[in-house]
Amino acid sequence: MSDRPLHESGDPSAEVLPGSTGSCGLLTAEPVDPLVGSRIDAYLARHPGGAERLIPLLHLAQATLGYLPVAVQEQIAARLGLPLVQIHGVVSFYHFFNTTPRAKYQLKVCMGTACFVRRAQALTEAIRQVLGVDPGSVTKDGLFGLDEVRCLGSCGMAPVLTLDDDTHGNLTPGDARKLVFGLQARARRQRVPEPSERVDE
């Protein structure tokens, strides 16, 4: 029990006492993934400086984990000596940064001007119907994420969507559906049954 995190908000079983700590949100939350921690340390050691290191560190952490958990943001704040709310401000300002785990397959439908006039919203609608998720969220199984984004710089191929780092252009709603079906099939083939499920079989 003694190595459980001890702090104000991270321990739901703890009795909540009224009043303030006057600590202005500078509490350290749950432990940070050691890999991110060591990468942050290495980056800071290589790049002496100040607050200008915030965005590179956020990139680094997101590249490592796929998203930015609160604990990582808190650690970055503490390491840079910045108020946590400033990290929160930067992370929430840039669409690139995510604070929730990302899906295995991230679909981003371009809503830039060229794609918009070539009916990109029909692509979103098609994917939404197949996967049952709204833009900005992730399917329950964590496989698919759908986002609407600003211009992806491939206006000549409009309408465009990206699947992770690959760009798919000149799509019809049918093409989009096929793409998603293909991914679902691939995911089923790759899926290794969980140990508990094997017992059931």
Binding site: H7, E8, S20, G22, G25, V70, P83
Partner: protein, 849 residues
């Protein structure tokens, strides 16, 4: 604005056709307002760096660089031609207001601001364009989770004043601007419930109704409220507060940015701690002990009983002792000491063990000859290096903390923070030195010794001061290595502190005081005065600012509410002073010094005292164990207590006389900076007498009169001069050799004042108690982990046979190795249980229960 940008060269510009001579580099807005030109603003705040967010301060430039410019962020340049009321300026402001109103929920008739709204003022002044613009407002929920501050993002105009003042002035950044586009809003980190210092700066800075104080919600429009500007009665900063009331009910507390010394800044106590005026537990009439029980009686009966007891003491020639408080106004304190000295004829009048008294009397008084600080808050704001000793002003003197944060953030001031008790300022300090408890004076001596080695040129001004050579040889023992071993601070950091001070052009040492802070405050003060005088700076550029614990520590000493001091800083042994007083007061004045509170209490315990008159103090609950308050109160033949509440001490008194407190009083108080400020009753008519009135009344019953009103002010003016002047160092004393304290076994008990809760008065404020629960012991996450204690677990805090059982609260702001026990926690007496002596630090054992 950074001072560095101002060249101090004047130049001529043209404003609305008139030439004007102005300082180059100053922002146009400041210049225009200085010239009496009205310029509207929403986002501007003179306490903050220019922002240029609301674009309402636009003015037209008619010189070579023609166009509309924001006055708040445009520095004055040679040959500028400015028009402030050109048609395009007015039109631009109207359009800007229209854009602001698009994303502002116009709830004006039912808005919580009750008419206190800059946006509303500006719209009624400029009007809005006729055509409606299409707009889809994003709906955002109100945040009502905080007990004190309600946030309504739909009314927010994103001027950023709250966020900037929280960061730049308060140094907390508890809120920030998050998200983007239409979703942009002011939020707490990760949208957690607001957990901050509750200074109210954000609410007071909000130009609209996006941030409002829950305790100050009211239906009374602002123009119907009575407004009183008075002095805050908590710490010794002397902040000016604006109190609004209606029909005797207190409605709201704010502060005006134009008032000195606080420039509109407040702290949790000064902003919220006013509810105790309306606390139902306040005494409404006098109490008299009859057949062993305190019963409510008429004023005449109670006062007659006291007068009778005083006459008995006189006829039996047995001593009468008065113990006053540093919360008394100058007038009340003066009347109290005059009553005891000239009416009763007793020299035994003292102020008790209040933080700052010893630093001023035995510290400043011994070394400089007069018991007052040699620096002001203004000096501190101008200093380029500040040395803060003994404690963190964040907890004890929040205004000083904001001055330091502003100095660091806006003017590049450097802060050396050396103390054993953390409070949050350390993250802003250039050099943070967490000392071993009680070693502050050794640290200052160590820095002084280094200074002597590094900068012998500074000696010039000091070699002729009496005692210098003896002192200089005694300070030689304080080598960095020895001091490092005693204080726990590495030798190189001691040298670094000395270097930083040597490079300073203007510096102030701040001595923080408060009952429960470990270490001898007088010794630290003397060491700090010597350190400052060796810097080789002009007297005005170096000083020591003693921050007294209560409102009027300085003032009560000025008027002689001290066993060793007559009014006007004359020692009570001074025969000529005594004769002057006899002439002025017309009668015998006993020669001093009288008994200090400690001496008096020990004599009470031995049954030597006939009458003990306690004013505004609760020794049984709040004083250290060494005073043996319970024994003293029981030992005195007759005990009179003047207090607003039935305190623990009052319960054992023979007569309890209720009085007005804090903002219910009239009079003057002297801040730590030596400036005398006015205290005005916020609610009239008064329902109870003030402390001084009771002494006048008692004197009348004993057949004499005490001065009141004009006559009293004339008498004070004859004896005293405010503000205080500067004084040179009078003498050097040999310092005792450094002592290495044995290592701690256990944890350091921190019973010193807290931000939300600093003693027996704050305990009565329900709002402050909501912010700072007293029934907890706080410890840092690391210690909690080591002790296997989780939030909410019951823990035992013990020192020898004394023991407290409280719930644990894990708090990352607590220093490792320290446990914080609030004043008067469980059963209202943790202090008197665990605080051994003034300045003593106590090691305690903490374990899970």
């Amino acid at each position: 604005m950074r001072d560095a940008d101002v060249t101090h060269e004047t130049t001529t510009i043209t404003v609305n056709g008139e030439p004007a001579e102005v300082l180059e580099g100053v922002m146009l807005l400041e210049v225009l307002r200085g010239l009496g030109v009205e310029v509207p603003t929403l986002c501007h705040d003179e306490r903050l760096t220019p922002y240029g967010g609301c674009r309402l301060c636009v003015v037209a430039r008619r010189d070579a660089q023609e166009g509309l410019v924001p006055a708040c962020a445009t520095p004055v340049q040679r040959g500028m031609v400015i028009e402030t009321d050109a048609p395009e300026v007015i039109e631009s402001r109207r359009q800007q207001l229209q854009l602001l109103t698009l994303d502002h929920r116009m709830d004006c008739p039912v808005c919580e601001t009750r008419g206190d709204c800059r946006l509303q003022d500006l719209i009624s002044l400029y009007g809005l364009p006729d055509e409606q613009l299409p707009f889809d407002r994003k709906s955002m929920p109100r945040d009502e989770r905080s007990p004190m501050i309600v946030q309504d993002p739909e009314k927010c105009v994103l001027c950023g004043r709250c966020v900037r003042i929280c960061d730049e002035v308060q140094g907390e950044a508890a809120i920030g601007i998050v998200d983007r586009g239409l979703a942009t809003r002011v939020a707490t980190p990760m949208d957690r419930p607001l957990d901050c210092e509750f200074c109210g700066q954000c609410v007071n800075a909000c130009p609209v109704g996006a941030l409002v104080a829950r305790p100050y919600l009211s239906d009374v429009p602002v123009w119907q409220r009575e407004v009183v500007v008075t002095t805050c009665s908590y710490c010794s900063c002397g902040c000016q507060v604006t109190v609004e009331s209606h029909e005797g009910k207190l409605l709201r507390v704010t502060s005006n940015p134009e008032e000195q010394p606080n420039h509109g800044k407040l702290c949790a106590k000064g902003w919220l701690g006013w509810d105790l005026l309306e606390e139902p537990e306040r005494l409404e009439g006098p109490l008299l002990r009859r057949k062993g029980r305190l019963v409510r009686v008429e004023w005449d009966e109670a006062l007659d009983a006291v007068a009778c007891a005083l006459r008995d003491a006189r006829s039996a020639s047995r001593p009468v002792v008065g113990v006053g408080s540093s919360r008394l106004t100058c007038e009340d304190a003066y009347l109290m000491q005059r009553f005891l000295r000239s009416v009763v004829g007793s020299p035994h009048v003292d102020v008790g063990p209040i933080g700052g008294v010893s630093a001023l009397v035995e510290g400043m008084g011994e070394i400089n000859g007069v018991p007052h600080s040699t620096a002001t808050l203004t000096d501190l704001a101008q200093a380029d290096v500040a040395l803060v000793l003994r404690g963190d002003p964040t907890r004890t003197h929040p205004l000083v903390k904001t001055e330091l944060v502003q100095g660091i953030r806006q003017r590049g001031q450097k802060l050396i923070l050396a103390h054993a008790i953390s409070g949050g300022l350390e993250r802003h300090a250039q050099l943070y030195l967490p000392l071993e408890p009680g070693t502050d004076d050794m640290f200052v001596n160590g820095v002084t010794a280094e200074l002597l080695k590094l900068g012998p040129a500074a000696l010039q001004s000091c070699v002729d001061v009496p005692g210098f050579s003896d002192w200089a040889s005694s300070i030689g023992d304080y080598t960095p290595e020895v001091v490092a071993a005693c204080t726990g601070i590495p030798a190189e950091q001691i040298t670094q502190a000395a270097r930083m001070l040597l490079e300073a052009r203007k510096t102030v040492a701040v001595v923080v005081t408060g009952l429960g802070i470990p270490g001898d405050e007088a010794r630290v003060t003397r060491a700090a005065v010597r350190l400052m005088s060796l810097l080789g700076l002009a007297e005005a550029d170096r000083g020591v600012l003693v921050l007294g614990e209560n409102t009027n520590v300085q003032g009560v000493l000025d008027v002689g509410l001290h066993a060793g001091l007559f009014p006007g800083h004359r020692t009570a042994t001074d025969q000529s002073a005594r004769q002057e007083l006899q002439q002025l007061w017309g009668g015998e004045v006993p020669a001093g010094p009288g008994w200090s509170a400690k001496e008096a209490f020990s004599r009470c315990s031995r049954g030597e005292v006939q009458l003990l008159h306690i004013v505004g103090q609760d020794p049984m609950a709040a004083w250290p164990l060494s005073f043996q308050a319970r024994k003293a109160i029981d030992g005195a033949a007759f005990v009179v207590v003047q207090d607003a509440f039935l305190t623990k001490t009052a319960r054992h008194a023979d007569v309890v006389l209720p009085v007005r407190i804090l903002g219910d009083r009239d009079g003057t108080v002297v801040g730590a900076d030596g400036v005398r400020r006015i205290l005005r009753a916020v609610r009239t008519p008064p329902r109870l007498p003030q402390d001084g009135d009771l002494f006048v009344e008692l004197a009348r019953r004993l057949g004499t009169t005490l001065p009141q009103g004009e006559e009293l002010q004339r008498e004070l003016a004859q004896l005293l001069l405010w503000p205080h002047g500067r004084v040179p160092l009078r003498r050097f004393d040999v310092v005792s050799p450094p002592i290495r304290h044995p290592a701690w076994s256990g944890m350091l008990l921190d019973v010193s004042p807290q931000l939300f809760h600093s003693g027996s008065i704050t305990r009565r404020s329900r709002r402050l108690q909501e912010l700072a629960p007293t029934l907890v012991v706080r410890l840092c996450p690391d210690d909690a982990r080591d002790l296997a204690v989780r939030n909410g677990d019951p823990v035992r805090v013990s020192a020898g046979e004394r023991e407290l059982m409280l719930r644990a609260r894990v708090d990352a702001t607590v220093r490792k190795g320290t446990v914080v026990v609030p004043w008067q926690g469980s059963a209202g007496d943790s202090n008197s249980m665990l605080m051994v002596d003034v300045g003593a630090s106590l090691a305690v054992n903490v374990r899970r229960s």
